[in-house]
C-alpha cells in the first residue's frame, strides 16, 4: 500500500516546500526593510517582462539544466556530487582549449565548432569527476568531500592558467584571448529572426538552450529506458542488491560520476562559448551548486529538472534586476536558494510527514 498518490509526491510536496521557502524569503526581504511584493514584481518584470529578460532567464536556465541533470544522474546512483562547479569550470577549460587551439580550418562553421566544444567540454568535465569517482569506488573516500575539494582545486588551476599560460598578453584581466568568430554561437536573436520573431539582440541565450533541452530527453531515455540507466538506478536504490544482480559498483560509480561531470562540463558551451566567448574566471557563477537545488526540486526527473531550472533561471535574472533597480543585494537569491535546498531537501519530511498522515487518515476514512 502506498502512503501517498504519485501526484502528491511529485507536485504537491515540492509546491509546499517551495511555498515555505518563498514565504521565508519574503520575510527576509521584509526584514531588511524592503517591500517583498515590489521586489517580486521587479523580479518577474525583469525576468519575463521583455525578450531581453527572457534572454537572460533562458541563458541561466540553460546553465541550470546542465548542472541539474548532472546532479540528478549522480543522485540516482546515490552519489551526492557537489563538484558540479569545478567540473563545469574545467569543462570550460576544455571548451576554451578547443575554441582557441583547434585550427579554424577544421571548424568552418559554428555547428562543427560546437561539436568539438561539446566533446572537449564533456571530456574535461568527466575527467574532473573521475578522480573523486575512482576514490569513492575503490577507496571509499566520501565523494561529497572530495568533490568539494576538487572545486577548490579547479579554482586554483583555472587561476593559474588564466594568469600564466592562457592569459592574453598585455591584458590586465585574468582572461584568455577571445575565441575566433567562427566559434561564436548564434543567439536566440539570430535564430528567431529568420522566423520573423524579434528577440532582444543583447541577451545571451543561444543555441545551447536547445542542446540542453535535447539533453533532458537524452537523460530521460538513458535513465528510464536504457540498460545503463536501469543499472544506475538499481545501484542507487540498493548497492547490495546490484552486486547480487551482477552490476559492478565500481563501474556504476565511475560511469555515473563521469556522466555527471560531462554534463556539468557542457555548461561551458553556454557560458564560455555562447556568452563570454573567451575563458574567464568564474564563468560558472555558482551554477554547479544551484544544480543541487534544481535536482532536488525536480525530483531528479529530467522534466522536473527543466521546470526547476526555469524557476532558478527566473530567480537569477530577477535577482540581477533587483540589484540593479533596488537596494536589495543580489545575495538575496543565494538566500532563496539556501532556503529552497533546505526545505525541498533536508526538511522535506517536515511537510511530507503531515501530508502523508493526512492521506492515510483520508484513506482510512474511505475504507470505513
Amino acid at each position: 500500500m502506498d502512503k501517498m498518490p504519485k501526484w502528491a509526491d511529485i507536485a504537491l510536496i515540492p509546491f509546499l516546500n517551495l511555498l515555505i521557502a518563498f514565504v521565508l524569503s519574503g520575510l527576509v526581504i521584509f526584514a531588511i526593510g524592503e517591500n517583498p511584493f515590489k521586489a517580486l514584481m521587479t523580479m518577474i518584470d525583469g525576468a519575463f517582462g521583455s525578450t531581453y529578460g527572457w534572454g537572460y532567464t533562458l541563458y541561466y536556465t540553460t546553465n541550470f539544466i546542465f548542472t541539474g541533470l548532472a546532479v540528478s544522474i549522480a543522485f540516482k546512483a546515490a552519489m551526492f556530487n557537489i563538484g558540479g562547479e569545478g567540473q563545469a569550470m574545467i569543462g570550460g577549460l576544455g571548451v576554451g582549449l578547443a575554441c582557441l587551439f583547434i585550427p579554424t580550418a577544421l571548424m568552418p562553421h559554428w555547428s562543427i565548432a560546437l561539436v568539438f566544444a561539446m566533446i572537449a567540454g564533456g571530456l574535461f568535465g568527466a575527467g574532473w569527476a573521475l578522480i573523486p569517482a575512482y576514490l569513492q569506488a575503490k577507496r571509499g573516500s566520501h565523494v561529497v568531500i572530495t568533490t568539494i575539494m576538487f572545486n577548490f582545486i579547479a579554482t586554483a588551476l583555472m587561476g593559474y592558467l588564466l594568469i600564466k599560460p592562457l592569459k592574453l598578453k598585455g591584458a590586465q584581466e585574468s582572461a584568455s584571448a577571445s575565441f575566433p568568430d567562427v566559434t561564436n554561437l548564434p543567439t536566440l536573436h539570430e535564430i528567431l529572426a529568420p522566423l520573423g520573431i524579434s528577440f532582444s539582440k543583447s541577451a545571451p541565450a543561444n543555441v545551447s538552450l536547445f542542446v540542453a533541452l535535447a539533453m533532458c530527453v537524452v537523460v530521460y531515455l538513458l535513465m528510464n529506458r536504457s540498460r545503463l540507466g536501469y543499472e544506475i538506478r538499481a545501484f542507487g536504490e540498493s548497492p547490495t542488491a546490484s552486486v547480487y544482480a551482477g552490476i559492478s559498483p565500481t563501474k556504476i560509480i565511475i560511469v555515473a560520476m563521469m556522466l555527471s561531470g560531462a554534463i556539468s562540463g557542457l555548461l561551458a558551451i553556454n557560458a564560455t562559448m555562447g556568452q563570454h566567448e573567451r575563458l574567464i574566471l568564474n564563468a560558472v557563477e555558482g551554477a554547479g551548486f544551484i544544480g543541487i537545488a534544481v535536482a532536488l526540486m525536480g525530483r531528479n526527473h529530467p522534466f522536473g529538472v527543466l521546470l526547476a531550472a526555469l524557476l532558478f533561471g527566473f530567480l537569477y535574472q530577477g535577482g540581477s534586476e533587483l540589484s540593479l533597480w533596488t537596494k536589495i543585494p543580489r545575495e538575496l537569491i543565494v538566500v532563496i536558494q539556501g532556503l529552497v535546498i533546505l526545505f525541498t531537501g533536508a526538511l522535506d519530511n517536515m511537510v511530507r510527514m503531515p501530508v502523508e498522515r493526512m492521506f492515510i487518515a483520508a484513506a482510512k476514512r474511505k475504507d470505513a
Partner: protein, 522 residues
C-alpha cells in the same frame, strides 16, 4: 527441566507483568490489537507466532521502546507508565533484543555502564561495574572479560553481555527476543541453563521464539500471537507442538512435504577446496568440497554465520574466492573479469538470495522491473541496441505474477508494497523461470507464511523433478530434512559431514552444526 512453582503461591502473588488492551499501529499496519496478557513472577513465559505477528512490537512496548496507542501496563500489580526505556529500566525490566544493542568498539564494561553510570565521571563508574560484574558472573555463570572490545567477541558472548547489562541494571523481569536464532545448539543449552538459574533466583523471563522445541523444553506458560492479536495462553505442560502450530497458523499444518525419490544424474556443480576471506580479513570458507547432481537437492544445514552466506555469495558471483568451482565440468572464473553475478547467470546459475530485501529486490522499483533484475541484459527485453523494451517486460512480469499467484498481481506496484511472502514469490518466479541448470536457494521461506511456504517448496521440488540441480541453504532443520535429497552440515567454514535425510535426525545434525564430528566425518 525445572517445573512450575506451586499453584497456590501463584494465586496470591500479583503478576509480574500484566498488559491490558495494548494496541499499536505503524501507519496503516496494526501491529498489536487489544492485547492482554499476564505473567506470573518467577516463571518463564514463552511467546510464539508467525513473522510479523507483533511479538517484538509488544515486547518493545513493554520496554518503552515504542509507545502503545492504547492500553495499560501493570508491573507487580502496579500500573506503570513506560514512556521510554529509562522508565522500563526503573521498573526492573531488561530486554535482550534480537539484534544486539551493543557499541562495537566499546569494551564490555563501557557497554554495561552505558546509561546507568554513577556520576558524571567515568572512572568510579567503571571501577564499580568491574566489581559487580565479577559477582554477577560468579552467580549466574556469565563469564566475560570486562575489558574486551565487543567487536572481538562471538555472538554467544555478546548475548551474555546483553544479559549482564540487564542484570547490572537490577532487572527482575528479563525479555529475550529470539535469543537462539544465532546460537549453536550448545550455546543455546548454555543459555537455557542461565535462564533456569535466573528463574530459580526468582526472576521473571519472557522468551520470544519460533522454535516449538524450545517452548516445550523451557517455558512454564506460552502465549500464541497471530496477526497482531493474542490467540491463546496455555500452560506448557498442557499442550503439544501440533496444537501450538495450529494455534499459530489458524489451521492444521502438515509439516512434511510430499515428493518422489530423486533421480540424480550428472554432476552439475562441483566445488573443490574453496577458500574465502572476507573484507575484514577473516577466513570464512576453509576448504569446501561438495557437489550437486542434476535432479537432486543438496541441503546445507548450519547455524547462520558459519559460512553458508559466503558460500552462496561465492557461487552467485559476488564474492571472490580461491579454489575451484566447476559447472557441468567446466571451471568458472573465481576472481577475474567473469566472476560476477551476470557471468554466473550466463552459465546457467540462478540464485534466490538469503535476504530478498537486501539482495533479491530493489524495493523502490516496480514489480516488472524487479522481474528482470539480473537478467536485464537478455536480448528478449531489448527493443533495439540502445533501449530496453518496457512493454515486453511488463507483459512478461504480468504473466509470471499470474502463474506464481503473486498477490496483488499488479506489475506496476513497487516491490516494497508486497508482503514478504509475495516478495519472495517474485524472486522465486524470476529465478525458477529462467530454467537454470543450477538453482541456489538461500532461506527460501524465511519470514514467509505457511501457505506460501508450501507453494515455494513445491516449485523447488518441481525444478528438481525436471532434472535440475538445487543447492538449498537453510537454518531451518525441518525444511532441510523435508526438502533435501542429501544433507551437508556446515560449521565454521567447513563441511562437517554429509547425511541422507532418512538416515539422520535433528539431534545428529544439531551435533554436527555445533562442530561435533561423528565417526567417518572430516
Amino acid at each position: 527441566m525445572a517445573g512450575i512453582k506451586t499453584e497456590g503461591q501463584q494465586a496470591t502473588v500479583a503478576p509480574a507483568i500484566e498488559l491490558r488492551g495494548i494496541s499499536k499501529a505503524f501507519g496503516p499496519v496494526q501491529a498489536n490489537k487489544d492485547i492482554s496478557i499476564s505473567v506470573q513472577p518467577g516463571t518463564i513465559h514463552g511467546i510464539i507466532g508467525e513473522n510479523g505477528a507483533g511479538k517484538s512490537t509488544l515486547m518493545s512496548i513493554l520496554y518503552g521502546f515504542y509507545k502503545a496507542d492504547e492500553g495499560q501496563i501493570f508491573i507487580h500489580g502496579k500500573e506503570t507508565q513506560i514512556p521510554d526505556s529509562q522508565a522500563a529500566i526503573r521498573a526492573g525490566i531488561g530486554m535482550v533484543f534480537q539484534h544486539f544493542k551493543l557499541v562495537e568498539n566499546f569494551s564490555v564494561l563501557e557497554n554495561v555502564i552505558l546509561g546507568v553510570e554513577d556520576g558524571p565521571m567515568l572512572r568510579p563508574s567503571l571501577a564499580k561495574a568491574r566489581k559487580s560484574l565479577k559477582s554477577l558472573a560468579d552467580e549466574y555463570e556469565l563469564h566475560v572479560d570486562p575489558e574486551a572490545l565487543i567487536e572481538n567477541l562471538g555472538v554467544g558472548t555478546q548475548q551474555r553481555v546483553e544479559i549482564l547489562k540487564a542484570l547490572y541494571r537490577e532487572a527482575d523481569i528479563l525479555i529475550l527476543d529470539e535469543p537462539t536464532g544465532v546460537l549453536t545448539p550448545a550455546e543455546a543449552d548454555h543459555l537455557f541453563r542461565i535462564l533456569n538459574g535466573l528463574r530459580d533466583q526468582g526472576k521473571t523471563i519472557v522468551l520470544i521464539t519460533h522454535k516449538l522445541r524450545e517452548i516445550m523444553e523451557i517455558t512454564d506458560t506460552v502465549s500464541v500471537m497471530r496477526r497482531g492479536q493474542m490467540t491463546a495462553t496455555v500452560k506448557t505442560k498442557d499442550t503439544n507442538p501440533e496444537e501450538l502450530a495450529e494455534l499459530m497458523v489458524g489451521r492444521k499444518v502438515l509439516l512434511r512435504v510430499d515428493k518422489v525419490p530423486a533421480q540424480p544424474g550428472e554432476k552439475v556443480l562441483e566445488v573443490t577446496d574453496l577458500h574465502m576471506v572476507d573484507d575484514h580479513g577473516v577466513e570464512r570458507l576453509k576448504g569446501i568440497n561438495l557437489n550437486v547432481r542434476a535432479g537432486e537437492i543438496l541441503g546445507i544445514a548450519g547455524v547462520s554465520g558459519n559460512g553458508q552466506t559466503q558460500l552462496l555469495e561465492v557461487l552467485g558471483g559476488y564474492a571472490s574466492a580461491t579454489g575451484e568451482i566447476r559447472i557441468n565440468d567446466d571451471p568458472i572464473d573465481l576472481t577475474g573479469k567473469y566472476s560476477d553475478g551476470r557471468s554466473r547467470r550466463e552459465r546457467g546459475i540462478a540464485h534466490v538470495p538469503e535476504d530478498r530485501q537486501e539482495h533479491g529486490l530493489i524495493m523502490n522499483f516496480p514489480a516488472w522491473q524487479n522481474m528482470v533484475f539480473g537478467y536485464h541484459h537478455e536480448p528478449e527485453y531489448q527493443k533495439n541496441k540502445l533501449l530496453m523494451d518496457n512493454a515486453k517486460m511488463v507483459e512478461v512480469a504480468q504473466d509470471k505474477m499470474d502463474r506464481f499467484d503473486v498477490r496483488p498481481p499488479h506489475p506496476h506496484l513497487n516491490a516494497k508494497s508486497f508482503s514478504g511472502g509475495n516478495q519472495q514469490k517474485i524472486v522465486v518466479a524470476r529465478e525458477i523461470e529462467r530454467n537454470p541448470d543450477l538453482l541456489l536457494v538461500g532461506q527460501p521461506t524465511r519470514g514467509v507464511d505457511i501457505g506460501a511456504i508450501e507453494f515455494i517448496h513445491r516449485q523447488i521440488i518441481g525444478l528438481r523433478d525436471q532434472g535440475k540441480a538445487v543447492l538449498l541453504v537453510s537454518v531451518e532443520l525441518e525444511e532441510i530434512l523435508s526438502l533435501s535429497d542429501r544433507i551437508a552440515v556446515m560449521f565454521d567454514g567447513h563441511i562437517m559431514g554429509e547425511r541422507l535425510p532418512d538416515q539422520t535426525d535433528e539431534r545428529e545434525l544439531g551435533l554436527l552444526m555445533a562442530g561435533v564430528t561423528g565417526e567417518g566425518d572430516s
